[in-house]
């Protein structure tokens, strides 16, 4: 038995990002269990004379305020008898079955108790949950939400970032504040910037509830998602709310024409010390029933800022998808989390994201940072400005709509400038502390707020206070924009105000398109019923997702076809089998005549000369022949070997891949192969020539020098395909092998 206690491989593993995380075993009594806690109740529902007298094993006399809210407002008793009579496994299968439409599943869910819903979820694996999510998402088209903040709370940078977020395709933008008193200015900059980027983007500011409502009433925000609910009463009390107080806020927002959604998520209760032995999912289901009962159109869930807690436990990421799915199945809009930092490991973050991105949720994230992490005032984002291109490439890879669209740098700079200039004009017109031209210029090109000049924050805060207290509203902003030449932005900001009068966007999963047309579960419901139905990435959507600006015309990758002007290869007739000791160098059909360089960018003349030099250095004769009948390397090499007096031949493709072959061997059983053409140097080819000569003379070969670049294949695979295609096109199947007279020019 070994005396060793450490392994060098384990040492490396311990240093990996994944092992910076904390992992713990389940501890149900503290609520540290994601699904299926031994403390979770068994499903039951008894209705007597139109009243629920027992739910999930508890008599009505034992109900707390949450239970009472749920039975009063969330469970439809007329649906409950049939729904609770179905087996949980049967309901789980309905979720996955493409022949059961979304409406039928929603009807069943409208009559289920929290414990029954938890039991249904426990039957589903993540792939089944994703299939179900694809069907149960409320809005037909998925979308994404942006987080827009900056550490210096600079309004020009905020407006520029908001404009960029709109251009990138975000349907909603959320900001928050470091200093609460800046809220009026930050909300204003977000509103103006967003409408520059894309008319119809909805905006919100996350701040204290009463302030939030005041800013929305001023017309500076069109939605709110700060309404938190909790699954246990002590947690609710710590949040200083009840289901009824949150419910009345939902009505209050709607009464002012403001869309709202609630917030909940796995782990909040355990984190607050009141998990009470129940699983995180069971508690979250209670939250979701309260959200539904309050009549909110939707929720942001998916653990949100608590995400690291379920992720420390077994089943955590599955449980979080389950809570998204429950929300959708209850008919709620879902902004699916993926906003707060979830892992040190990029691989783990991406794996988790796929669960929401592939099936699509109403908002794939509850906030995708358009800035670098240090400017994210939500406590650091899970996905940041630097991740934008990864996101876009994943969309293109999977033909999936993650809510974003590729953009051109020039277009981004243009909208950023316009956003910054527009907010500068508003500040000027409304008598706020001026935004200097230098701030506008810096905001256009900034990476982060480090690139921004400092502002007089005392003056800003005083002006923000005065703006809040004044009777100035978004209408004054509209006038300021119009007076300074931004009529189009003024018109968009005004139309966002008119939308409050219409109230169309108060409905489930509503967003506005660039023409202010509402897209919601009411008028564009998700009609997925299997392949060929529902939201498909096709037509113009696919074109825009497909056409990332990095994508080149394949022909731009390689120079045009041309012979190597430093090499003359003249046919001297059909090759015959040799009798002398020699090495035959067999080149591919395009070599030197149609193509002139290898993948390593080496001239054909130089490669051939290196091989011939190598052969000559061992004192052997060389013969160069051209293979016309094929482009396969083994075929080229073996054809040369068969003609060779020594039985040894070198095969050389035009892209530079080369080998040594021997007469009588099987095609794929060569003597030496230089397969990584991009890594080869002239020295490699010279050594290959020497080695072939050594084989022919019966001497020991030399190692071929190679530089190792494991990524070369990634970079050059398209080049390889294009260059090899050229070789293939020169094939003349019936033409015999020809000897070549070689002249170096």
């Amino acid at each position: 038995m070994t005396q060793a206690t450490t392994s060098k491989r384990f040492e490396k593993l311990r240093e990996r990002d994944i092992n910076k995380e904390v992992f713990v075993r389940e501890l149900p009594k503290l609520g540290l269990i994601v699904m299926d806690s031994p403390g979770d109740p068994k499903p039951s529902l008894r209705i007597h004379e139109g009243r629920v007298v027992e739910m999930d094993g508890r008599e009505d006399s034992e109900f707390d305020a949450i239970d009472l809210f749920i039975v009063k407002y969330a469970i439809r008793l007329e649906a409950a008898e049939e729904a609770m009579g179905l087996g949980s496994l049967e309901i789980a299968r309905m979720l996955v079955d493409i022949n059961v439409p979304q409406a039928r599943v929603m009807q069943v869910f409208s009559g289920l108790t929290p414990a029954m819903i938890a039991e249904v979820m426990s039957h589903l694996n993540v792939v089944e949950m994703m299939m179900a999510m694809q069907k149960m998402r409320q809005r037909k088209q998925p979308a994404d939400q942006a987080h827009v903040t900056n550490w210096k709370e600079n309004p020009a940078l905020l407006a520029a970032d908001a404009a960029e977020a709109g251009l990138r395709g975000f349907a909603e933008e959320e900001t928050t504040v470091r200093v609460a008193r800046m809220a009026p200015f930050s909300a204003l900059a977000l509103l103006v910037g967003s409408q520059v980027g894309r008319p119809g983007v909805m905006t919100q500011i996350s701040c204290e509830e009463a302030l939030n409502l005041r800013l929305a009433m001023k017309g500076l925000a069109t939605y709110a998602e700060t309404l938190s609910v909790y699954g246990t009463i002590p947690s609710f009390m710590d949040g200083d709310d009840t289901p009824w107080s949150k419910g009345i806020l939902a009505s209050a927002y709607a009464s002012r024409g403001i869309k709202s959604r609630f917030t909940s998520g796995s782990g909040a209760e355990a984190l607050m010390g009141y998990g009470l032995g129940w699983s995180m999912l069971y508690l979250e289901i209670k939250c979701l029933l309260m959200v539904r009962g309050a009549g909110s159109q939707g929720v942001q869930n998916g653990s949100i800022s608590c995400i690291a807690l379920p992720e420390s436990l077994p089943n955590g990421v599955r449980g979080v998808l389950a809570e998204n799915l429950v929300a959708a199945s209850l008919g709620l809009e879902v902004a699916a989390g993926n906003d707060a930092m979830s892992s040190h490991s990029q691989m783990r973050k991406t794996a988790k994201l796929m669960l929401q991105m592939l099936p699509g949720t109403d908002f794939i994230t509850s906030g995708h940072s358009v800035m670098p992490r240090k400017d994210n005032l939500f406590g650091g984002g899970n996905f940041d400005a630097e991740d934008m291109d990864d996101w876009l490439v994943i969309q293109r890879d999977m033909q999936v709509d993650g809510g974003l669209r590729p953009v051109n740098e020039a277009d981004v700079l243009e909208v950023r400038e316009k956003g910054a200039l527009a907010i500068q004009a508003v500040f000027h017109e409304m008598g706020f502390p001026p935004i200097a031209d230098a701030e506008v210029e810096a905001a256009v090109t900034a990476f982060s707020s480090d690139d921004m000049p400092d502002r007089d924050s005392v003056a800003d805060l005083a002006a923000a206070d005065a703006f809040l207290e004044s009777d100035k509203t978004a209408l004054d902003v509209v006038a300021a924009l119009a007076r300074s030449g931004f009529e189009d932005v003024a018109e968009s900001v005004l139309e966002m105000q008119r939308q409050r009068v219409l109230g169309d966007y108060l409905h489930t999963s509503a967003i506005l398109d660039k023409d202010f047309k509402v897209l919601s579960a009411v008028n564009t419901p998700n009609d997925y019923t299997g392949p060929g139905t529902g939201y498909r990435v096709a037509g113009e959507t696919w074109e825009s997702i497909r056409d990332i600006p990095q994508a080149l015309d394949p022909y731009d990758l390689v120079d045009g076809e041309a012979p190597d002007d430093r090499l003359r290869l003249a046919s001297s007739g059909v090759s015959k089998e040799g009798t002398q000791p020699e090495v035959v160098v067999a080149v591919g059909p395009a070599f030197g005549t149609v193509m002139n360089k290898t993948l390593a960018d080496l001239r054909h003349a130089e490669v051939l000369r290196a091989i011939l030099d190598g052969i000559e250095s061992e004192g052997l004769a060389a013969r160069v022949v051209k293979i016309w009948h094929g482009a396969d390397l083994a075929d080229i090499g073996l054809s040369g070997a068969r003609l060779s007096g020594s039985g040894i031949g070198i095969g050389l493709q035009s892209k530079g891949t080369a080998l040594i072959h021997k007469k009588g061997l099987a095609p794929l059983n060569n003597l030496e192969l230089l397969s990584m053409a991009p890594n080869l140097t002239l020295e490699s080819y010279q050594t290959l020539g020497r080695n072939a000569a050594c084989y022919a003379a019966g001497r020991a070969p030399h190692p071929v020098p190679m530089k190792i670049d494991n990524m070369a294949r990634l970079r050059l695979i398209v080049h390889t395909a294009l260059l090899h295609h050229r070789e293939v096109r020169q094939i003349d199947a019936d033409r015999p092998v020809e000897d070549l007279d070689v002249t170096f020019l």
Binding site: T242, W244, F516
Partner: protein
Amino acid sequence: MSNENVENRFRFPIGEHHRAEVRAKSGRQLDELTLEDVLAGNAAADDLSASAETLMLQAQFAREAGYEEVASNLIRAAEMTRIPNEEILEIYEALRPGRSTYYKLLSLCQRISSMYGAEHTGAYIREAAEVYRDTGLLKMDNT
């Protein structure tokens, strides 16, 4: 805009199908609020607030689409268009845990039902009062 037989006459979304008919809380027609009006100072906050009638219509659309709970919320919202901002914040405060006695909540319910015709919102507050009483969420000292 009438609330009778709305399902026969109106189509969702109203911004697309009935824009010319929509009136703001102030009674002003939505399409009579132009950029020129704003520049001329001829626009007030109530011109950009939803009317109770519009929210009732939206409630009807929600119900027809199967979102009954959203509909109930929009009905409360329609009633609350008549309640001033400060009073809305007072109602919220009263419903927070331990803020109100049973009788305070009942009188709040009566006041908003009678003063603002907010019958559904009133009922919601009364239901809260009963639950708060039964589950210990009322203000502790007696008033």
